[in-house]
Symmetry: C2
Subunit: 265 residues, 2 copies
């Protein structure tokens, strides 16, 4: 494996599967994050979600014992909010109510403005013919299509269930347009989380070889794949170039990072 480019100027960390699984922290992860914090390297938490507001994510992580500030959480939903705000869009939001919270302060007032964009997340209650048809007609009139992410499906307690991706593809095909994907693995997602930091000196730690590591490395970041969460043996061979480093867990990843930093002093 490669040695890391130093100095390290930012570390991005995936949430589900890397720091926790559902409501359980990955063993050692709370302490490992504390030790990483001592280096004073800026940290951000990057996650693909279409329905959990930043406040909700923050509350869950703090509840698990992690030291995290709300504005260190960079979710695909929040990134979509940011994109809508920066372009001053009037979006038709295909989101569940719980996700609307992140858009609440943008001052959209139903009926007052013409929608000029469609923002689509995982919104089962809006994935019916009439709502999709409304989105389709907006796209025909030139609205832009913003996909929070494009997952094919997700795991639900009763089995696999459709993700937002299929409905994004349906609208793209219907209106003969292309969506702008906001979340991982879009390089822009990592870029916006990094701000001014040169990707060359930034690390991404995650359990999804394509969405976390592949996406980050496409931008020039250094990816560390952890073998927890959704990791399956052989995942490291699924992207080219392969992950910069592969570690058994977030704890091992932090220990390796701290070791390399120490060697360089």
């Amino acid at each position: 494996m490669k040695t890391l480019n130093l100095p390290i100027k930012a570390v991005l960390i995936d949430l589900s599967g890397t720091l926790h699984i559902d409501d359980t922290a990955i063993p050692g992860a709370v302490d490992a994050l504390k030790r990483l914090r001592k280096t004073n390297i800026p940290v951000k938490f990057v996650t693909n979600t279409t329905k959990e507001s930043r406040r909700f994510l923050h509350e869950r992580l703090v509840g698990l014992g992690f030291e995290i500030k709300p504005d260190e959480i960079w979710s695909s939903l929040w990134a979509a909010r940011d994109l809508v705000a920066s372009r001053e869009l009037q979006p038709y939001l295909m989101l569940e109510d719980a996700a609307m919270e992140d858009f609440a302060d943008l001052g959209k007032q139903e009926g007052e403005h013409e929608y000029n964009s469609v923002v689509i997340g995982l919104a089962p209650s809006m994935f019916d013919y009439d709502h999709l048809n409304k989105a389709f007609r907006l796209l025909l009139r030139g609205a832009s299509l913003i996909a929070i992410h494009e997952a094919r499906y997700y795991k639900r307690s009763d089995g696999l269930a459709l993700g937002p991706g299929p409905f994004v593809k349906a609208l793209e095909y219907a209106a003969d347009c292309k969506s702008e994907v906001v979340g991982k693995p879009s390089p822009n997602f990592f870029k916006s989380a990094l701000g001014d930091v040169d990707p060359k000196y930034a690390i991404m730690i995650g359990d999804d070889v394509r969405d976390d590591i592949g996406g980050a490395q496409k931008l020039g970041m250094q990816g560390i794949l952890v073998q927890t969460g959704k990791y399956r043996p052989g995942d490291e061979d699924k992207i080219s170039p392969p992950p910069c480093k592969v570690c058994p867990s977030f704890t091992h990843a932090v220990n390796m990072l701290l070791g390399e930093l120490q060697k360089s002093e």
Copy 2:
């Protein structure tokens, strides 16, 4: 333009836009069909529909004055029925009630058999998250996906509305599979309508340059594009090779055919 391959052993004719528009026959079309009938060349009527049963289509055409027998009508819905019957499939039908009629005699009994296929037409009342999720899970378990056709949208009285195509694409993406498209422009559709007739000696008359003419010519048939219905100037240049013949209307197409037959006697 090319001269036609003789003898002509079958003529396939599109319905909407070629013989009639809504509830009005194209001027001269009823008489032209009568004159074509006198040649004793077998005729079939081929149409993409996902919701009108053969009985309904027949009643409408007879009501407009056309001499047509029910079994001369070859619709994409009927072709799907035929495919389901020939393969002895147990399909999960994503169709509106009016379309179910064509499948009524296939003896499917809800609950008794495991579905091993998904047949999808334009079924707004089934295009919601739960029904699509059910179809998705069947596909994951190995069911085949049969699309009656893949139209992006259609014209409704209140504007354009989503066709079955977007929902087919959604399921294909979700389950990482490919649908089998039954209707036009699928060459198999024309082939099944022709039966034993060599496509080289068969004619297709229609107003849709891609779905009617392009599809038929791909199978080796000879296409005659009529400039009624959805025809727009320049359509003849949209496929390669171009239509074998272009005629102002169905009447002109029949006159041209009869003229060529007479010359060859």
